[in-house]
């Protein structure tokens, strides 16, 4: 998400899957599109039928590869080398779309003199705060004791970067209103200056050559060049190329930087915001986009507003807004969204006088994401746990630790349509229920068609679904749980005089259903929730639900006259009668009347860039949004991602706020300077540019830099989270994980028609390795890491191929699907048992796509190699007080 967010302005897919049919070339990498998004893959097939070239780069030859025109193998975990070499090739061979790059990106901006690149510092960027020797955690850090994402208040934390040297060289530019000057980045539009971004980029990736790709990725040079030429040939005024990726790119300790590399490449190729171009981030679950929009993330408020943090100076609303608001670009409107959100939460109790009840919002004090919380739980630091539609005992990383952690809870509530491995954790192999004190509640939940509501898919599209049947027995919607909890908590806290309890009492909670039947069951009104998300024009004293709804986020104000539960969705229900998420009128272009996309029903983001600086389409063939001089507005089949009546020739107003500071040819309105960011000046924790670092578990030493891993990656160095050392002779194979079309998890394993299609866990092994290990197709095989071992049936296939790396290394990759667990008709060991906890520093995403392993013929002899370690308490000097991870730090290759 921040890979796209920092590059372009919003953390979401930049286009919609239907637009893929307009591509002349599609690069699918870090994704198994045909298997994991088969319905959306239709549009790739349509593109192919129109003559588009389909390219698939993947460690395995999959069902996607079978339909691709070009397939290239790659060592899992090395895509930054592959994409970086493409960047280098495009620059060196001058195949990038120069006019687009100069006008729409920060290619011409000068990077400050203090910047030190990985080429100068053995693989580090300037500003790295070293981890002192012997430092193994953060519990020794001061009275706050906690390491958060923003530690400026407490001095630079070890293993992080201070990003001051990653800034642009600034110059004073006269303000448009004549009142002095304002600082803007210095530029060289001729792109000659050695410190202008494109030259910094050139130097940074100079060693990323086709030969390096062969050495590091194991991808044949010929394949690389074939792909480079296909991309360049299809990224011009007349032709566009789209990228599609999924968790094969994100689930790495450098995951965000993978996305950055792809973003840089697409910027250079001039494909962003153009039909058949863009970056299609393929989000997985049906509502995962909704789950980050509203969100379930600990560090963000609805609409990607930052959660207040105890680690920053923001105890008051004013301080918080100062930190969160950008002076230029669309985020200058932040206060309107924050105050409207507070009005939605607290209604009349939120007034200008009391800072709109800001003090009642919780503040984060560290990294409370899933992995640290899991570790904290294992150490006894978490009392209670709501597990809703999630199954950590089966699909969690370091699954044994996840299961053991559940034994330390005082209570757990599992809400699901099935009794999952998580709900049944106390019955698992090796568990002794008499020793488990956890009080377990299992609440059966209604499944999709047994309740109404919205889902938000990878197109950022809200689609409402109706209730088709009554749920069985006592099953209720998930919304019922929160609605009822809210009502009962409010009642319990009503009499409390403790100031910290007041917030709950003050919450507006008017979701009572109008439907008698639903009301009798305790189910809330989904319609009211949606209307609150859309927003109201509030009047003091009048119940919010009686007020008029706002037409969209442009109507939101910072004076307390509007309330809005999620600004990016505003517009979905602009009046009492309308639910745009429910509309179903489709067409062959953008289908603006099918569902409601955020923001403001835009389907393709950054679409101003589909026209040149003068507002004319780059070509007739790739016409999308364009300026109509006579009408005085932007026209086209989609909602313009630009002020609809702002001329392409509008002058930038230095010193003005919001997007008035941008000219009429600055398409990336969310960005401070209106440009796509080739070089990101400080918003990411591991670098302004991507660099190749090996995964935590790797079969080789980093061939590119002395710095082996991402120095800012987060890990837990403890007995119950052991990981394989780099280049360990005991674990010489790369293990990669993925999912199958036929399964998700427990939901599908219980469906006989799906279970019979893929009934058992299998491991894909290349024929050469199979012979070496005396494993025949169909035999049982055991896969081992330092964390444990699991067994699977061997599927020996030439679709897996050993890779030839540099220095004559021959590396085998083993693939294993992630969909299995002990319950259901189709069962198997859980792959998560093999994978140690490690995360990227920006979003705490786990590394699941590339670990190392060994294999042996036969069934497993033990449940987990380290079972006794996991069930035993971790020594207290290895625990952190918060479950917090610690940074990897400088790593010059010593084991």
């Amino acid at each position: 998400m921040p890979g796209l967010g920092t590059s372009f302005g919003r953390g979401g897919a930049t286009t919609y899957v239907q637009d893929l049919r307009n591509a002349d070339c599609i690069l699918i990498e870090g994704s198994n599109f045909a298997e994991c998004h088969p319905v959306a893959f239709r549009f790739v097939m349509m593109a192919k039928e129109r003559g588009a070239k389909i390219i698939h780069v993947d460690p395995r030859f999959t069902r996607t590869s079978a339909l691709a025109d070009i397939y290239a193998p790659i060592r899992s975990g090395t895509d930054i080398v592959f994409l970086g070499a493409l960047i280098s090739w495009m620059i060196e061979n001058e195949r990038y779309f120069r006019e687009y790059v100069v006008a729409y990106t920060n290619a011409s901006f000068l990077v400050g003199e203090a910047f030190g690149d990985t080429e100068d510092l053995d693989g580090l960027f300037s500003g790295f705060n070293d981890v002192p020797p012997g430092h193994s955690g953060d519990h020794d850090r001061g009275s706050m004791g906690m390491m958060g994402k923003d530690d400026n208040a407490h001095g630079p934390a070890p293993g992080t970067y201070t990003t001051d040297s990653w800034q642009f060289e600034m110059e004073d530019v006269p303000r448009a209103d004549g009142d002095g000057t304002v600082k803007k980045p210095k530029r060289d539009e001729t792109l000659q200056h050695p410190r202008c971004v494109i030259n910094v980029l050139r130097r940074h990736f100079a060693r990323y050559t086709p030969e390096l790709v062969e050495d590091v990725c194991g991808t044949p040079r010929e394949s690389f060049l074939e792909i480079a030429n296909a991309l360049a040939d299809n990224s011009t005024r007349e032709r566009t190329t789209a990228f599609a990726y999924a968790v094969g790119w994100t689930q790495h300790t450098v995951g965000v930087q993978y996305i950055r590399t792809a973003s840089i490449l697409q910027m250079l190729l001039g494909n962003m915001g153009r039909p058949g171009g863009g970056i299609m981030a393929l989000r997985g679950h049906a509502n995962i986009q909704g789950a980050t929009d509203i969100p379930t993330l600990y560090d963000s408020l609805p609409g990607y507003l930052p959660m207040p943090s105890a680690l920053r100076e923001e105890q008051t609303l004013a301080e918080y807004l100062k930190n969160a608001t950008k002076p230029t670009g669309w985020w200058a409107n932040t206060p309107k969204y924050v105050i409207s959100l507070l009005k939605a939460y607290y209604g009349d109790a939120a007034t200008a006088e009391n800072d709109y009840a800001f003090e009642y919002l919780p503040q984060i004090s560290g990294d409370h994401s899933a992995l640290p919380t899991q570790v904290l739980m294992k150490d006894g630091g978490v009392k209670g746990y709501f597990v809703i539609g999630q199954n950590p005992a089966s699909s969690g990383l370091n699954a044994e630790l996840a299961r053991a952690a559940l034994e330390r809870l005082e209570w757990m509530v599992v809400v699901d349509g099935y009794e999952t491995e998580t709900a049944a954790f106390w019955q698992r192999e090796g568990a002794d229920p008499s020793k488990i004190g956890t009080e377990l509640f299992f609440l059966p939940s209604a499944v999709i068609l047994e309740k109404e509501g919205t889902m938000v898919n990878t197109n950022r599209l809200l689609q409402f679904h109706d209730k088709a049947v009554e749920p069985a027995g006592d099953a209720r919607s998930d919304l019922y749980l929160f609605h009822q909890l809210g009502l009962r908590l409010k009642a319990l806290y009503e009499k409390s005089t403790d100031p910290k309890d007041r917030g709950i009492g003050l919450l507006t909670w008017d979701y009572t259903s109008d439907d008698e039947h639903e009301r009798a069951k305790g189910e809330p009104s989904v319609r009211r929730v949606l209307q609150e998300i859309n927003g109201y024009l509030v009047k003091p004293g009048e119940p919010m639900t009686e007020c008029e709804q706002v037409p969209g986020f442009a109507a939101l104000k910072d004076d307390g006259s509007t309330a809005c539960g999620c600004w990016i969705y505003s517009g979905v229900a602009p009046d009492k009668a309308t639910n745009r998420a429910r509309s179903r009128r489709g067409d062959d272009i953008a289908s603006l009347d099918w569902g409601f996309a955020w923001p403001a029903n835009r389907r393709m983001l950054y679409n101003r860039a589909s026209a040149d600086p003068d507002g004319k389409p780059w070509s007739e063939r790739k016409k999308y949004i364009y300026w109509d001089e006579a009408a005085g507005k932007w026209m086209g089949p989609d909602v313009p991602d630009f002020p609809v009546d702002k001329s392409p020739h509008a002058q930038a107003q230095p010193g003005a706020s919001g997007i008035d500071a941008h000219s009429g040819s600055d398409p990336f309105i969310m960005q401070v300077d209106g440009r796509a960011q080739l070089f990101v000046a400080g918003a990411l924790k591991d670098g302004p540019l991507p660099a190749h670092y090996e995964p935590l578990e790797s079969v080789v030493r980093n061939p590119v830099y002395k710095q082996h891993n991402n120095p800012t990656l987060r890990e837990w160095d403890r007995d119950d989270n052991r990981y394989n050392a780099p280049e360990s002779p005991d674990f010489p194979y790369v293990l990669t994980t993925y999912r199958l079309t036929e399964h998700s998890g427990i939901m599908t394993r219980y469906v006989p028609w799906l279970a019979e299609l893929q009934p058992a866990l299998f491991a894909e092994i290349d024929p050469e390795l199979a012979v070496q290990k005396h494993v025949r197709n169909g035999d049982w095989v055991t896969i081992v890491t330092k964390l444990g071992e699991i067994e699977a049936r061997a599927l020996v296939s030439g679709r897996m191929r050993p890779l030839r790396l540099g220095k004559g290394r021959r590396v085998h990759q083993v693939g294993i699907p992630y969909n299995y667990g002990t319950l259901g008709h189709a069962t198997g060991d859980t792959v998560g048992q093999l994978i140690p906890l490690a995360m990227d520093p920006n979003v705490s995403i786990h590394e699941a796509k590339t670990i190392t392993c060994t294999i042996r013929a036969g069934r497993r002899s033990t449940y987990a190699a380290a079972t006794d370690i996991v069930d035993r308490d971790v020594p207290s000097d290895q625990r952190t007080t918060t479950g917090e991870s610690h940074p990897h730090g400088r790593d010059n290759g010593a084991v």
């Binding site: 045909a34 298997e35 088969p38 319905v39 893959f41 239709r42 097939m45 030859f61 069902r63 996607t64 590869s65 079978a66 339909l67 691709a68 025109d69 070009i70 397939y71 290239a72 193998p73 044949p220 010929e222 394949s223 079309t741 036929e742 469906v751 006989p752 028609w753 799906l754 279970a755 019979e756 299609l757 893929q758 009934p759 058992a760 299998f762 290349d766 050469e768 197709n777 169909g778 049936r793 061997a794 599927l795 296939s797 030439g798 679709r799 191929r801 050993p802 008709h825 189709a826």
Partner: protein, 276 residues
């Protein structure tokens, strides 16, 4: 007017939505949970309770060869609804008929489970439904709803694709065609499908892809297949017969020999016993 399927294997992504849609619509039981080791194909063959089956054929190149040379054929197999159907010829009760859509249909209330149709299908499509799967409810979870008499509901009788006779009767397209995300399975008027398919072969040829139609104007004794296929390798690669043979074709020779032998023996016997 003949209705049928054109299955274009170059559009198949191996998702198996067709298998699942068919089973769900017809409320067929799962066939068991055995790992086959046969690529991604665990259902293995068409049978009494599997009426769409996706075959996976790996044709991989050695590791040193250019990676794009790897091939993985995927094909959704189905009853061919032959214009000269072996199963229909063998059926002694008249259970197997050609319906008004020119598709081969087993009437479940007429079939007596004799099983003569089973060896008579040159493609190995039809089979007998085991009693146990239905009476013991093995691998079977239904929502309790029933369809009309076009659906298989009891064990012991023969089962195969009905070309969604019940859906066609109310103007719906077959479940598998409806579910297929890439339109690899196309349903329609057979003559029109032939036209479309022939154009498709040409289009693919222009792109350098060699293909042909299996079950169209081949001269095989099964006649044209109302469910025909576009393939890119020889039929044997897909486990299809190179040249399907209607079993009754052999019978002519058999009956003729038998008639000649009878005539010859009669003549000889007459000659020997005439003196007596």
């Amino acid at each position: 007017m003949s209705k049928g399927f054109f299955t274009d294997t170059t559009l198949c992504i191996g998702c198996k939505a067709c298998e699942v849609a068919c089973k769900q619509w017809n409320q067929l039981p799962a066939d068991g949970y055995e790992f086959s080791g046969n690529s991604y194909d665990n259902t293995m063959a068409l049978g009494a309770t599997t009426w769409r089956h996706v075959a996976f054929i790996e044709q991989t190149a050695p590791p040193e060869a250019p990676p794009s040379l790897n091939k993985w054929l995927m094909m959704s197999d189905v009853c061919k609804h032959c214009t000269h159907a072996g199963c229909m010829e063998a059926c002694p009760t008249g259970a197997i008929v050609r319906n008004e859509f020119d598709d081969v249909y087993i009437q479940p209330d007429v079939c007596n489970g004799c099983g003569y149709c089973v060896p008579s299908c040159p493609f190995g499509v039809v089979d007998l439904i085991s009693h146990a799967d239905y009476t013991e409810g093995r691998h079977f979870e239904s929502d309790g709803r029933t369809h009309d008499d076009a659906t298989q509901t009891t064990g012991g009788i023969a089962g195969k694709c009905t070309l969604c006779y019940d859906r066609q009767k109310v103007g719906f397209i077959p479940a598998c065609a409806k579910a297929c995300p890439t339109e690899s399975i196309q349903f329609g008027d057979v003559a029109e499908l032939h036209e479309r398919a022939k154009k498709r072969v040409e289009t693919l040829a222009e792109r350098g892809v060699d293909s042909y139609l299996y079950g169209v104007d081949s001269g095989a004794s099964t006649g044209n297949l109302n469910a025909f296929f576009l393939l890119t390798e020889a039929p044997g690669a897909y486990n299809l017969p190179e040249r399907p043979v209607l079993p009754s074709t052999h019978q002519r020779a058999g009956y003729t020999s038998a008639a000649l032998a009878a005539a010859a023996l009669t003549a000889i016997g007459f000659a020997i016993f005439r003196r007596a």
